[in-house]
């Protein structure tokens, strides 16, 4: 090749190197769309950051079913065993018996269910903590935002010192002397107990006609009080506990879950898990009704 041609080639290469496409130099790619971190050796564990829950959190390796909770809340699965029986009030038991769930000890075929979930009604809180769990947490000086994978829902926990609203008989809350309506995710406030433990209280959730506690038909009412504790055990581990108190439905408070979660790759491209009414209809037509004998 002639020298002038070499000069032309080199010059072209130099010009190209200045273009945006060449300068991107990015090797970023799309990671797998499911959390897949492996267990971390004890020697590789790092200390927890202070007052931070930020991250994408998923099941501990080999324990995916713990975050699914499809057969009932983690600590009290609805499997008919005596130790998992709940302290229902008479009204609570009446409510439970009216529910026709797809999961658990009293499951019914798809065509017979009255679970609001199959109509794509919002799960609400705390049921959203008890189903197909995958969460991302962001926070600033005023609040913590939790993004749930199922149905792309989110909730806010206020950490700016505002008080927990007063729960009102008949549902809803009172804030600054004014009535506020029940919400699917209620009204949540959080307090840092220490640098690694956040205590969260929620009131003002939806009434019993609209929401269930879990997939197996356990009930909750608008008098529900939820207490959650988020403990950052180390850099990669978060322990999420929940206790409920609902005097209308249960004769005493009881703990629903104590769930260890693992920090996942923040670049994980989470798959969609929407509830689409048309997709539910298509499923029922193609499978749910025929398999139910309908």
């Amino acid at each position: 090749m002639r020298f002038s041609s070499w000069l032309g080639l080199v010059g072209s290469a130099l010009i190209f190197a200045q273009t945006p496409l060449a300068q991107s130099g990015s090797t970023a790619t799309w990671p797998e769309p499911v959390p897949a971190r492996r267990a971390i050796a004890e020697k590789d564990k790092k200390p927890a950051p202070r007052r931070s829950l930020v991250g994408m959190w998923g099941a501990m390796p080999g324990n995916r079913q713990a975050t699914n909770q499809s057969s009932g809340v983690q600590l009290k699965p609805n499997n008919g065993k005596p130790e998992n029986q709940l302290p229902y009030t008479s009204y609570g038991l009446e409510l439970y018996k009216s529910h026709k769930p797809l999961e658990g000890a009293d499951a019914v075929p798809p065509a017979a269910t009255n679970d609001p979930r199959v109509r794509c009604e919002p799960l609400g809180l705390p049921r959203h903590n008890h189903y197909d769990l995958g969460i991302q947490i962001f926070q600033d000086e005023y609040k913590i935002a939790m993004l749930y994978q199922y149905d792309n829902q989110w909730r806010i926990i206020w950490t700016d010192g505002r008080p927990l609203p007063k729960l009102v008989d008949g549902g809803g809350v009172e804030i600054n002397g004014q009535y506020r309506e029940p919400r699917w995710f209620g009204y949540s406030v959080g307090t840092w107990v220490d640098d690694y433990t956040l205590d969260v209280q929620t009131v003002g959730t939806m009434p019993e006609q609209r929401v269930w506690l879990d997939n197996t038909g356990r009930p909750i009412s608008d008098q529900l009080r939820i207490r959650e504790t988020f403990r950052r055990l180390d850099f990669d581990t978060l322990e999420w506990s929940e206790t409920i108190e609902d005097p209308k439905v249960y004769s005493r408070s009881w703990q629903t879950m104590k769930l260890p979660l693992m920090l996942q790759d923040p670049r994980t491209d989470v798959m969609t898990r929407y509830c689409s009414p048309s997709e539910v209809d298509a499923y029922n037509k193609a499978y749910g009704d025929p398999v139910s004998g309908k």
Binding site: V34, P109, R273
Partner: protein, 135 residues
């Protein structure tokens, strides 16, 4: 290729791991604890919430073709078991192992699907029900 109907029954006790389905859709409903294996030809693969669906023709020894339908998890869970949106296409020959429907009809809960080239999806001892609970 002649497609034959092959049925293999395996008791739960023979499996190496407990069956999660026991805590899901218990005796009152949809599936039995028995495994059924059939060979067929794919008609459709639906990659969708709430559950992915595999529809396939199975030709019996009597020459009759029966349409089978088997479900598995939602895509975000099915993905962890190796299934993908394009795992199957119409015409694929498959060997399907599933939990048989309690109704006795041509329905099932997928445990494992094997393509003619040996590619496997799911696991023969998983047989995970909806929610994949092991409680």
């Amino acid at each position: 290729m002649k497609i034959g109907l092959v049925i293999v029954f395996a008791l739960v006790a023979g499996l190496s791991t407990p069956v999660p389905l026991a805590a899901h859709h218990t005796a009152s409903t949809l599936y039995t604890q028995k495994l059924v294996t059939v060979k067929g030809v794919v008609k459709a693969w639906l990659w969708s919430n709430p559950h992915c669906l595999l529809t396939f023709d199975v030709k019996g020894e009597d020459g009759q073709v029966v349409l089978w339908r088997a479900e598995t998890q939602a895509p975000n869970t099915a993905y962890t078991e190796g299934y993908r949106a394009n795992s199957f296409k119409p015409g694929d020959e498959v060997t399907v192992t599933m939990r048989a429907a309690a109704s006795g009809g041509p329905f099932g809960l997928l445990a494992q699907v094997v393509l003619a080239d040996g590619t496997k999806f799911g696991s023969i001892d998983g047989g995970r029900g909806r929610g994949a609970d092991a409680q």
